[in-house]
């Protein structure tokens, strides 16, 4: 079984809400990513979502946009992200890693090479923001062959008819985008998230995790209560790239100080 399913099944059995943490590969420096991943796991992250920087990150708010710009300036790429995941796997065999990014870098690498390199590196899933199910068929075939999950987004604007189509192809978990907007936006509506998550559950038994707009213990707890877990991104990217110090230890400590209360909040549920 794929690590993502194993992890989320274990969470379910333990009654634990899943915490997915997103950071950008190579931000603020190439050397920061690996230690940050390990620290996030230590502090209670269940899944690591590693952002692959892109020159034109259309779905991102300003915080993650700047993260992508910093990472690109440092020479981060899909290729060296795979190397990084291999290094991560030397010390961690159990935490699922999902690469999240945009279609063009994977198109450039080629779907077949991408899938085989990712599997070899120890990647577990892929989430490609601008590759909806309608355009994902060729990639799906390659990912499936390598035992990788293709994770899809469902949005507040997704109709029930589309939900059926998306969940038919989705693997790992469903990522519900909590709001109409870009990453890091601030207008979270818990009631509407709850309704939508219930709707999604009619179509799939996959865990439903919710991201966009989760910024502290309270929002994490509110959303965790109506879903299987939360994704935290902009909060961490801001801490890593726009904190007072780029010193590795202070960055890791800063991450820990943000993650601890969120983990605690989720565990209170």
């Amino acid at each position: 079984m794929n690590r993502i399913s194993q992890c989320l099944q274990a969470c379910k059995q333990e009654g634990r809400k899943a915490l997915v943490t997103y950071i950008v590969h190579g931000d603020p420096g190439l050397e920061h990513t690996l230690p940050s991943m390990h620290r996030l796991v230590e502090e209670g992250a269940d899944i690591i979502e590693l952002g692959i920087p892109f020159s034109d990150p259309m779905a991102e708010g300003p915080v993650i946009q700047r993260g992508h710009e910093r990472a690109l300036a440092n020479g981060a790429s899909l290729t060296n992200a795979m190397e990084l995941v291999s290094q991560f796997r030397q010390n961690n065999k159990h935490t699922p890693v999902v690469l999240m990014g945009y279609a063009n870098p994977i198109e450039r690498m080629g779907y077949s090479k991408l899938a085989s390199s990712a599997a070899k590196a120890g990647v577990d899933g892929l989430l490609t923001v601008d590759l909806p199910p309608e355009e994902a068929e060729a990639l799906n075939v390659e990912l499936k062959q390598q035992g990788l999950e293709n994770i899809f987004l469902i949005a507040p604007t997704t109709t029930e008819a589309r939900m059926a189509d998306i969940t038919a192809l989705a693997g790992g978990f469903v990522y519900y985008v909590s709001l109409k907007g870009v990453t890091g936006a601030g207008h979270l509506d818990v009631t509407s998230v709850q309704q939508k998550v219930e709707q999604i559950r009619k179509y799939t038994g996959l865990p439903v995790l919710v991201g966009f707009g989760i910024k502290d213990k309270d929002t994490a707890k509110a959303i965790g209560a109506v879903s299987d877990g939360v994704v935290v991104g902009s909060l961490l990217v801001k801490a890593m790239g726009e904190g007072e110090s780029h010193d590795l230890k202070s960055i890791c400590d800063h991450l820990a100080s943000l993650i601890k209360p969120i983990r605690k909040g989720l565990d209170e549920l």
Binding site: D56, M58, A59, Q65, L72, A103, E107, R108, V182, A185
Partner: protein, 406 residues
């Protein structure tokens, strides 16, 4: 690599999912998929509706001033000593370029959707002005995204948009030019999808935009075809148009695509020269990739990151191109060539002096290629050049190159 494919019905594209061969499609985040489905549904309902088309035609006639003339440039033709060169005078449209054909059409669509706010991206500012114009007329709120660099370079158009009541938002992310403006417009749309209609300015973006923008721009080619038959008694032998995103070119080319005798040349911005890498000519020197909602030829690095482009003309300064052009390149139906900055500047000056017509720097690329092509053709042959816009907006750029402060 081009492979000649015969017996294609060019009018039948794209397929129902918006694909032109491997190009086109719909590569956007899930939040926008429903809005695109909705737009496609509305567009397929109205595109053959006589009432909608009559409204569109009426606006084109009485507000835009169509049909635009097809003008035989006798002095230019004589100087070149070959084919007769006709200019399709899109520069005479209201607001000074072909862009208004599309914004009129999309504004009518916006009206049908009941949305009260329109947004647009703009590079040189022509599409922004054309959008602000139709928004002013229909009483719609209008926000235009423009790269911070372009806001500086195109101050006159920024002020025009403001006078028309639009809000111009300078975009400071990425390379601060047209592609970043398009990213930001997409972000706005994702956030305000309930009440906002995105008026895309070229034949790119996710399906159905490349199709509907093309359809609205095809008035150029339909008129040119009828005018050429009426004035010269025959079809042209060659069509020439500049290609940034490619809306004026597709508008001219499309109604002629099934006329096998008509050759077509799309002219990309060669910047400092295609061989220097500093240009905006993805069809000459790019690879297929995915950007702004569609698969098309792009300028990118070995990691699939989009690279910065250069052209003297802000309207051509874009790393991608409409997907139908990518397909027309690969089928071999259209030849895509490049004209450098200095060649375009020379043609800007020569057309102004010889014919008393000041072309936009974008259109000057098409004129420059026609100047190369005409002498290789016979005097009984005909070239139609799309003069997509007027050059008034570029006077400050030209003066700066001349070292003059206006």
């Amino acid at each position: 690599m081009s492979t000649e494919v015969k017996n294609i019905d060019y009018s039948a594209m794209p397929d129902e999912k918006g694909h032109f061969g491997i190009f086109g499609g719909r590569f956007v985040s899930e939040t926008l998929m429903h809005a695109l489905d909705e737009l496609q549904e509305i567009y397929s309902r109205v595109k053959d509706d006589p009432e909608f088309l009559a409204e569109f035609d009426k606006d084109l006639a009485h507000y835009v001033g169509r049909p635009s003339p097809l003008y035989l440039a006798e002095h230019l033709s004589e100087k070149l000593g070959g084919a007769q060169v006709y200019l399709k005078r899109e520069d005479l449209n209201h607001t000074g370029a072909h862009k208004i054909n599309n914004t009129i059409g999309q504004a009518l669509l916006a009206k049908h959707t009941g949305k009260t706010r329109v947004i647009a991206e703009t590079g040189a500012g022509q599409h922004g002005v054309a959008t602000a114009t139709v928004a002013a007329r229909l009483g719609l709120e209008c926000v235009v995204y423009m790269g911070a660099e372009d806001v500086q370079r195109q101050a006159l158009n920024v002020y025009r948009m403001k006078l028309l009541g639009a809000t111009v938002v300078p975009v400071t992310s990425g390379s601060k030019t047209l592609k970043d403006a398009m990213n930001e417009a997409m972000r706005d749309w994702v956030t305000n999808v309930d009440d906002t209609f995105y008026i895309i300015g070229t034949v790119a973006g996710p399906h159905p935009y490349p199709q509907l923008v093309r359809d609205f721009q095809c008035v150029i080619g339909r008129e040119a075809r009828a005018q050429c038959l009426a004035q010269a008694g025959r079809l042209p032998d060659a069509l020439v148009a500049c290609v940034g995103g490619g809306s004026n070119a597709i508008g001219l080319f499309h109604p002629f695509l099934n006329d096998q005798s008509v050759k077509m040349y799309g002219v990309e911005a060669g910047g400092y020269g295609v061989e220097t890498g500093k240009h905006a000519a993805p069809l000459n020197d790019g690879v297929p990739g995915i950007l702004h909602g569609n698969r098309t030829y792009l300028m990118e690095d070995e990691n699939g990151q989009i690279i910065e482009t250069h052209s003297v003309s802000a309207g051509l300064d874009y790393p991608g191109v409409g997907p139908e052009h990518s397909w027309l390149k690969d089928t071999g139906r259209v030849d895509y060539v490049a004209i450098n900055d200095d060649e375009a500047m020379a043609s800007f000056r020569s057309l102004t002096k010889i014919e008393g017509i000041m072309p936009a720097l974008e259109s000057s690329h098409a004129v420059a290629y026609a100047e190369k092509l005409a002498p290789t053709m016979g005097k009984d042959e005909i070239i139609v050049v799309n003069l997509s816009g007027r050059g008034d907006k570029d006077i400050l750029t030209v003066a700066k190159i001349d070292g003059i402060e206006v």
